[in-house]
């Protein structure tokens, strides 16, 4: 094929990626929340259109008009009203906003999985015309590409015009920058934010409808693809629409042009061609200077504190019922025992997040990547005749350097940028390692000697979990633990007290990666095979949400979360746990400290303690003014 034709073919995908990026940037600028659920919204709307057209036989135009024009904005309004408005009011930091949007993401993915199943639909209807338009010089361009290009440019011009030249645009920026001040100036902040949400969700829906025909429609695939276009938004530093559009088109064209190159034996070029957006996301996050993050009254202060901040004060003998419950599956039959085997393994992965996020305040959405690498390394070692038990711990050790590399960016990054970077690492690892047949095929995973029996293996898992919990408990009262909490609570103060903040962060990422790898290797050994889908990067988001929901600074909560996730999916249907975790994460704004803390509080009849009270004392004049603007 000619270079020009390849380029034109790439423009179509580029245009849709540009639309997604414009949508994400616009809703970020308009709402102050980086909406991770953007991809999930796109996926849901695409599914709705598919359902209405392919199953119910509606005319395409009616379905698209209803879903993109009404349903998607309505979803946005619901999210604003019931999830994010309360958080804004409380002055919640970026970390809690992130968890809330993660909750929406997880909830939507769970709903789609439950409603439509995980099998891909191959016939999403296309709203762009087929056929092509001839160009001078014997080439032609698909009409659809032109339409897609037209849509993205029209949207960008509209957004730019509204924000720059209308009163509404000025109000919008005021609300995002300083909501409270905007309200004092008489701007109806809630209505302005709601409009931002509605518009952002509409763009998400439009993206989904345009993108779906280009690929198969399934709950993870489309969502992930839209998530990958975050790279484009990052290149534009979450601010510039023209840069986003140009970058997206360039990547689309580049992806297309790469297909001209000879396929190399490693499959690297091939992988690069299929995953250029992911690579750009990682590179952009690592290379570009700090993004222009907006809003948030406490953007700098303790941005990553998610837990109660109190840590655990478990009653004496706390471990007795715990051990009893953990040992119970030993009495189960082989079939149920195999399911129960997932619990300790997953719990170990979750505990790694407690360490990272709960204790050290670092966000990692990439634990699925480390866990998968652990399973893969263990399998590779076992395939090379290394004894299983040795392979298990060697694999965990081998992943530690990967954690070091991921921890490196964390030195200077926090909040949103760090979360996205860890996700990008997991996505790259998934695409370039897990998905490559050459790595997965010769991996041999099995219960290690002398724990071949189902019961014996479960006991081994429990021993590993016990070891990890012991370390965590020890950490809680050690100098290292104090140091990590100090870094979480106040980086500047920690440095002033002589704590090497950078090393502490890198260290905790490395250890967290090793622990997650241990859990991943056990998961793989339990399943007796390496399954790339078990370590999908999207799962990293679900896991993070699950741990936060069950109290991010509680190791016991993490074990509970693992048990619940496995039990829910086993007892009902796959995807149920995702829905529950998503719903709880969305509700997290009402539950400081996570589910267990809230349940304990309700049982004890104590009122919820505010997590971060906002120190405001109004003068009589201030009270009068507030009564006027906020009746």
């Amino acid at each position: 094929m000619l270079t020009l034709e390849l380029a034109l073919a790439g423009l179509g995908v580029g245009a849709i990626a540009a639309l997604a990026a414009v949508g994400m940037i616009t809703s970020y600028r308009a709402t102050g929340v980086f909406n991770l659920s953007f991809g999930a919204l796109a996926m849901i709307v695409a599914y709705l259109v598919w359902q209405q057209v392919r199953v119910w036989g509606w005319p395409l135009w009616a379905a698209v008009l209803l879903d993109v024009g009404v349903v998607a904005p309505a979803l946005g309004l619901v999210l604003e009203r019931f999830v994010f408005r309360g958080l804004h009011r409380e002055g919640a930091g970026p970390a809690r906003m992130l968890v809330a949007s993660l909750g929406v993401f997880v909830l939507l993915v769970g709903i789609a999985t439950l409603t439509w199943g995980t099998q891909a639909r191959l016939d999403p209807p296309s709203i762009v015309p087929t056929g092509s338009v001839g160009l001078p010089g014997d080439t032609s361009v698909p009409t659809g590409t032109l339409v897609e290009l037209g849509v993205v440019i029209a949207v960008a011009v509209l957004v730019a015009g509204v924000t720059r030249y209308t009163r509404f645009g000025v109000r919008l920026r005021a609300v995002v920058d300083r909501r409270a001040l905007a309200e004092l100036a008489g701007v109806p902040a809630d209505r302005v934010a709601a409009a931002g949400w509605a518009f952002g969700s509409m763009l998400a829906g439009l993206t989904g409808v345009l993108l779906a025909p280009h690929l198969r429609l399934d709950p993870y695939g489309l969502t992930l693809l839209v998530l990958e276009t975050i790279g484009v938004a990052v290149v534009a530093r979450l601010a510039s629409l023209p840069v986003a559009i140009l970058a997206a088109l360039a990547i689309g064209v580049g992806q297309s042009e790469l297909s001209r190159l000879e396929l190399d034996s490693w499959g690297l070029i091939q992988a690069l061609q299929a995953n250029l957006f992911v690579v750009v996301m990682l590179v952009a996050l690592l290379v570009l200077p700090r993004m222009v993050e907006v809003g948030g009254p406490d953007g700098t202060r303790a941005a990553t504190r998610l837990g109660t901040g109190r840590g655990e004060s478990a009653p004496a003998g706390w471990w007795v019922p715990f051990v009893a419950v953990a040992a119970a599956p030993l009495a189960l039959g082989a079939e149920h025992l195999r399911i129960a085997q997932q619990v300790p393994a997953l719990a170990i992965v979750f505990v790694s997040l407690v360490m990272l996020t709960g204790y050290a305040g670092q966000i990692s959405l990439g634990q699925a990547g480390f866990a998968g690498l652990g399973a893969l390394f263990a399998g590779q070692l076992m395939g090379r005749q290394v004894p299983g038990l040795l392979a298990l711990f060697l694999a965990a050790l081998l992943v530690v350097p990967v954690g070091l590399l991921t921890g490196w960016p964390a030195i200077r990054r926090r909040g949103l940028t760090l979360a996205l970077t860890t996700f990008a690492v997991a996505a790259v690892v998934s695409r370039f390692v897990f998905a490559q047949p050459r790595f997965g095929t010769d991996a041999v995973l099995d219960h290690p000697w002398p724990f071949e029996g189902e019961r014996a293996f479960y006991a081994l898992e429990l021993a590993c979990l016990g070891l990890v919990l012991l370390v965590i408990r020890r950490l809680h009262v050690s100098r290292l633990g104090r140091m990590l909490v100090a870094v979480r609570d106040h980086e500047g103060g920690a440095a002033a007290a002589g704590v090497d903040v950078a090393s502490a962060k890198v260290f905790v990422f490395a250890v967290g990666a090793g622990v997650a790898a241990l859990g991943g290797a056990l998961l793989g050994m339990g399943g007796r095979a390496f399954d790339a889908a078990a370590f999908d990067p999207v799962l990293g988001l679900v896991w993070f949400a699950a741990v936060v929901v069950f109290g991010v600074d509680s190791a016991a909560g993490a074990v509970l979360a693992a048990g619940l996730v496995v039990a829910l999916d086993a007892a009902t249907t796959a995807g149920m746990s995702t829905i529950v975790v998503g719903a709880l994460a969305v509700l997290l704004s009402r539950m400081p400290g996570g589910v267990p803390a809230t349940v304990l509080r309700l049982v004890a009849g104590r009122p919820a303690a505010p997590v971060e009270p906002i120190p405001v004392r109004l003068t009589p004049l201030g009270r009068t003014l507030r009564a006027r603007v906020r009746p």
Binding site: L475, M483, V485, G493, A494, A496, A497
Partner: protein, 257 residues
């Protein structure tokens, strides 16, 4: 209180800054400041908001400088990050209190004591037992007593009122047995009794041979305890002298008093 840090003899320059420049874009927030903080004395920097006091503070404590050098006890620390300077005996407090809210008061202090003592970096990271455990305990207890925090020792810092937190932050700084103490508006949020205690402590610390530098808006405190006062405006030091001299200085009165 004696610690591992080598303390300068009274009157000697414990901290010396020369030609400090810090730019933000085109703005020179600190524009060629020379400053010495002698051991055994209290030095104060005053000036209007935006004069560059806090930026200067950050330059001394470990922030980036665009030009100039910082010497701590005769050693050039210009390129050392904040935690290295802290371990060399430079302690500081922040304008917005920087305690660790989820740690108890005693643990807040322990962090400083443990990271000051001589354990190697790997041992520190691996959480090996502290070889200087006894010394840590002594330093923590001494600081608690000194600032009357013993009754709050096992309360999480997040549950304490702002005035007490100022004291906790100061205690944390003292726990590291510093030779130089930088205090950024230590009196803000204190009630009169606490401010009195602070005044008294600052004098006592200087008498112990500590080099104290404070940035403060409370003129009663500054003129009550400082031996030397520098007036900063627009990134430069425009007047220096004893409190009496500064009160009489026309230039200082014009920019600030």
């Amino acid at each position: 209180m004696s610690g591992p840090g080598s303390r300068a003899a009274p009157g000697e320059d414990a901290l010396r800054a020369a030609g400090i420049v810090r730019r933000f874009g085109g703005l020179r927030a600190v524009d060629g400041v020379d400053l010495v903080v002698p051991a055994g004395l209290v030095t104060a920097v005053i000036g209007p908001n935006g004069a560059g006091k806090s930026t200067l503070f950050d330059c001394l404590a470990g922030g980036r400088v665009d030009a100039g050098r910082v010497h701590l006890g005769g050693r050039d620390v210009t390129r050392l990050p904040a935690h290295r300077r802290a371990r060399l005996g430079l302690a500081r407090t922040f304008q917005v209190v920087s305690v660790f809210p989820s740690l108890t008061v005693v643990d807040n202090l322990r962090v400083a004591a443990e990271n000051r003592s001589g354990a190697s970096a790997p041992a520190r990271l691996l959480g090996l037992p502290d070889p200087a455990r006894g010394r840590t305990r002594v330093a923590v207890e001494a600081a608690l007593r000194r600032l009357a925090l013993t009754e709050h020792a096992h309360t999480p810092a997040g549950e304490l009122p702002a005035g007490i937190l100022r004291m906790v932050e100061l205690a944390r700084a003292l726990t590291a047995s510093p030779s130089v103490l930088l205090l950024d508006e230590p009196a803000s949020g204190l009630d009169d009794a606490q401010a009195d205690r602070l005044r008294h402590e600052l004098r006592a610390l200087a008498a112990d041979g500590l080099a104290v530098l404070l940035v403060e808006h409370d003129m009663d405190l500054v003129f009550g305890v400082a031996d030397t006062v520098h007036v900063m405006a627009a990134g430069r030091i425009v007047a220096s002298g004893t409190p009496a001299e500064i009160r009489a200085d026309a230039r200082a009165r014009e920019v600030y008093l």
